[in-house]
Subunit: 342 residues, 2 copies
């Protein structure tokens, strides 16, 4: 393939060039790596917003409403260009479901200020958050001011992806069953804004009560998540804001748009909060440091693979498969040995 990087076209907002570049970046081709390196210096402006929640909470519709709100701000703000990254395979943005009645999706599709991309969530072994970060960087450099990243809210990979975001929105809905409620304490700890969607359903009052008490619990145990990445265990200390950010609970009905303006405002409030005391910069720094570590791990392994004697590796693997040496010990043995003793 002779496709070459057209960084200028991407930066000029040419959609076909952008789509192709993203594909190259996702596929980790040489052209993709070059594009990423060339585009990186132009990135760093976008507001990354993670939207996470279980399937069935209506978060795709809410994402569409939010995209619309950023295009047509209820407060009279400047319209923003919006990128949507759908990681959730059940998202209508991913094309995984046929949801013809979601008119809002069609509205978005015709808007030149919106770029929608779905990402394969399975198979990208441990690399999904890195791939998402890379694609977000491309959209950022292409001038998308706001990047909405929609993930299904369960599992470690979601937590990883969420750590990319400046603002994390956790979407819940009433009546998803008691066992679903139990998961909330965990996911609430990552919420900057909590949304109770489908607020027209029965059980909303009960769900709201449950969420408010869960929020209080989560708040008590909230890690110092202004610095994402490696410092999540750390509690808020005295050099943090004395009050800090208390995640608001916002009720929405995404199918009608009710509550979207309040949610938009909460996002803007959070953005304002982040802009104080270098929080925005801290988040970016933690994210980039984590990206660097990820790529170091990948590169070290790739480099090691190129240097190893295949016979030697085969012998050690054989000792592992016959249960003579545990994989962890075998790994230590393999990297300690001189790689070319012959």
């Amino acid at each position: 393939m002779t496709w070459t990087v057209d960084v200028d076209a991407v930066r000029a907002g040419e959609r076909i060039a952008l789509a192709r570049t993203i594909s190259q970046v996702e596929d980790q081709t040489t052209a993709g790596r070059q594009a990423l390196s060339a585009l990186f210096p132009f990135s760093g402006q976008a507001h990354l917003i993670g939207i996470t929640g279980s399937p069935g909470t209506g978060k795709s519709t809410l994402t569409a409403q939010l995209a619309h709100a950023f295009r047509h701000p209820p407060t009279g703000d400047t319209p923003r260009r919006v990128g949507i990254l759908a990681i959730d395979p059940t998202s209508p943005f991913s094309g995984g479901a046929v949801l013809g009645d979601r008119v809002r999706m069609r509205d978005l599709a015709g808007d030149a200020g919106i770029f929608i991309r779905s990402m394969a969530s399975r198979g990208a072994l441990g690399g999904l958050s890195a791939a998402t970060a890379a694609v977000a960087t491309v959209l950022d450099a292409a001038g998308y001011d706001v990047i909405l990243i929609e993930t299904v809210g369960a599992g470690q990979d979601d937590v990883e992806i969420v750590r990319l975001a400046h603002t994390t929105i956790v979407v819940e809905a009433p009546d998803l069953g008691d066992e679903v409620q139990a998961i909330k304490a965990g996911i609430l700890e990552i919420a900057d804004i909590l949304v109770l969607n489908k607020a027209d359903l029965a059980g909303v009052a009960r769900a709201e009560r449950a969420l408010r008490s869960a929020l209080e619990l989560a708040d008590a145990g909230r890690p110092f998540n202004e610095v994402a990445g490696h410092h999540r265990e750390q509690k808020i200390t005295s050099n943090a804001s004395p009050i800090g950010w208390r995640p608001p609970l916002i009720k929405t009905i995404a199918t009608t748009g009710q509550g979207t303006a309040e949610l938009y405002q909460a996002i803007m409030d959070h953005r304002q909060y982040l802009s104080d005391e270098n929080r925005w910069e801290s988040k970016n720094a933690a994210r980039l440091a984590a990206e660097l570590e990820h790529h170091l791990r990948e590169s070290l392994f790739a480099s090691w693979q190129r240097g190893i004697d295949p016979q030697e590796y085969k012998q050690v693997l054989s000792d592992v498969l016959t249960h003579k040496i545990h994989p962890q010990q075998a790994a230590l043995d393999l990297i300690k040995q001189p790689k070319s003793s012959k």
Copy 2:
């Protein structure tokens, strides 16, 4: 801490020694690594069974029923010793929920042939499947014949954990909403056995139809998953069994035990299937090779970290944070440079 490895006590089935060893292994202490190395040669007999599904499908109750079935086989088979590893934070096995009416859990707790362990699912950055594998190895070496691994069925980490298992059971339930249905095509591809639990609920006929057609779709696109790990893209080829395994759909009502005998039989059938044509050995080999790779990556990074000049690293990180060099390029630069040029 002066705790030392008591491999003999673990192998003799002493529960306190076992629990302590698992904690050391989970915490990656020196004693834990030594225990793992010492126990590894005695492992390799256990049947690892993954049980995955969304919260609300009743998979914990089903897991309890299965544990009971292995202790008291409906077919008159030899009773097996059962280890239960709960990865799902919402599982009652994890103590995350107070579900006093689940009498079955209390039944299990008093049985010396059952060992229950929950694992923290958040925070073990990328290491949860490795930790699960290690703990499963300990239980295996301690003589547990069957290890039931319960995970919440969404996200990459679940897929990783499921790859540990010889037999993967995907649990569904009626009426979890249409969007939940949409996720099934993905998760069904990893199912060796599909369970439709809560078969007494309304909507079971509709759910069954949906699952059967999803199963057909998944079967058509099913990867050659007898060899887990790196070959998932590969389709079934001519050197595989001409028919292969077709995942059965089994309806259960876990709260009453209905369907448990059929599920037990399906597991035994799958075990029989795996015992043919070296499938069991292939699965074990793929799992151990993946474990070796994981530990290689970890060890390489740890070793690199010990060797790097902190000043040099600081400079490169600074170039990343100021958007001069993309993390991927920075990683390549860092590992190419001689580590001690002074």
